[in-house]
């Protein structure tokens, strides 16, 4: 359960306790995963404890971690520079670390370029900063459509992109994970870092939406 190419990790979703047999009928893929898990533990390739530790570590991250990184980048231009130049060093300043097998590249949205992330081969995702990917990110529909018709896909997420902007899709087919640095919403220059972090959604760090101000905060400056 590292940030590697696993296209199916549903076994634990079906089983309320590690190692217990669920009552519900499992899908083919879910039973296959369960069988592989049992074989790996029976043959001492990996222990149940190691497995649980890995799953817990995976689940311990969520998009609020990524949001803190983005908010810091908005607030501190030198941090933003470091984040784009060497994300690993920058995020370590906030206490975050990457999975040892991967690298993280932060791509910045500007007035001229809007970035969107996908893994067409499976579901590679910056788990270290966002936690496990949403189901739609892993779906065949998103993965196959966002590379060839990205403007329609992001429109379905509610994002209508200006026709003059370059829409840049990143297919993370290898060891690099991508995180989008969205543009800071206008009217938020006086916000505290923690207030800014609340505006940063998971989807905006994937690039299928933009952070927006909640209605009651609009026209504040």
């Amino acid at each position: 359960m590292k940030e590697t190419h696993d296209d199916n990790n549903t076994a634990q979703n079906h089983s309320p306790h590690p190692g217990s047999q669920p009552d519900v009928k499992l899908s083919y893929r879910a039973s296959r995963i369960l069988a592989i898990k049992e074989l790996l533990t029976a043959k001492h390739v990996i222990s149940t404890t190691e497995l649980e530790t890995a799953i817990n570590s995976l689940k311990s991250r969520n998009p609020t971690d990524g949001a803190k990184v983005i908010a810091r980048a908005w607030k501190d231009p030198s941090f933003k520079q470091r984040l784009i130049a060497n994300s690993e060093v920058a995020i370590s300043e906030l206490g975050y670390a990457l999975d040892q097998h991967t690298r993280l590249i932060v791509v910045e949205n500007t007035a001229a370029i809007h970035n969107v992330i996908v893994c067409t081969l499976c579901s590679c995702y910056p788990i270290s900063l966002l936690g496990p990917p949403p189901d739609w990110y892993k779906s065949f529909g998103y993965r196959s459509r966002v590379v060839k018709d990205p403007r329609s896909v992001i429109k379905e997420f509610g994002l209508l992109l200006d026709t003059k902007i370059e829409l840049r899709v990143h297919d993370s087919t290898a060891d690099i994970r991508y995180l989008v640095l969205p543009m800071q919403p206008t009217g938020t220059s006086k916000f505290h870092e923690s207030e800014l972090a609340e505006l940063v959604t998971r989807d905006s760090m994937i690039g299928v939406s933009n952070p927006t101000l909640p209605k009651h905060r609009r026209s504040s400056d």
Binding site: T173, A174, D175
Partner: protein
């Protein structure tokens, strides 16, 4: 960029992705095979997934590049804008100079 190797390609070099279909695991999506783009980033060397998929050690490491393509050059009927691009991370053995 910790690796102190000399990459075969430089930023902005025009390259074509090999249009081959070898048996076994590889991480080059079908839609990018045979397409022409340019080197957008040089990432250094990584363990070769075409070996690691079979429990091998992944050595020698493979140089990895981010290659950027004009969407219009990838999809015949691309519905978006002319300036839209697609970036795919690809290993050196899949790349040839144009």
């Amino acid at each position: 960029m910790k690796d102190s190797y000399k990459p075969d390609y430089r930023i902005n070099d025009r390259v074509r992705i090999k249009n081959v279909y070898p048996q076994g695991h590889h991480r080059t999506p079908w839609f990018i095979k045979g397409k022409i783009g340019h080197i957008a980033a040089i990432y250094g060397k990584f363990l070769n997934p075409e070996q690691r998929a079979y429990g091998l050690d992944g050595c020698p490491k493979q140089a990895l590049y981010r290659i950027q393509f004009k969407q219009k050059n990838v999809w015949v009927n691309y519905l978006g804008e002319t300036q839209d691009t697609l970036c795919v991370d690809l290993y050196e053995r899949w790349i040839e100079r144009v």
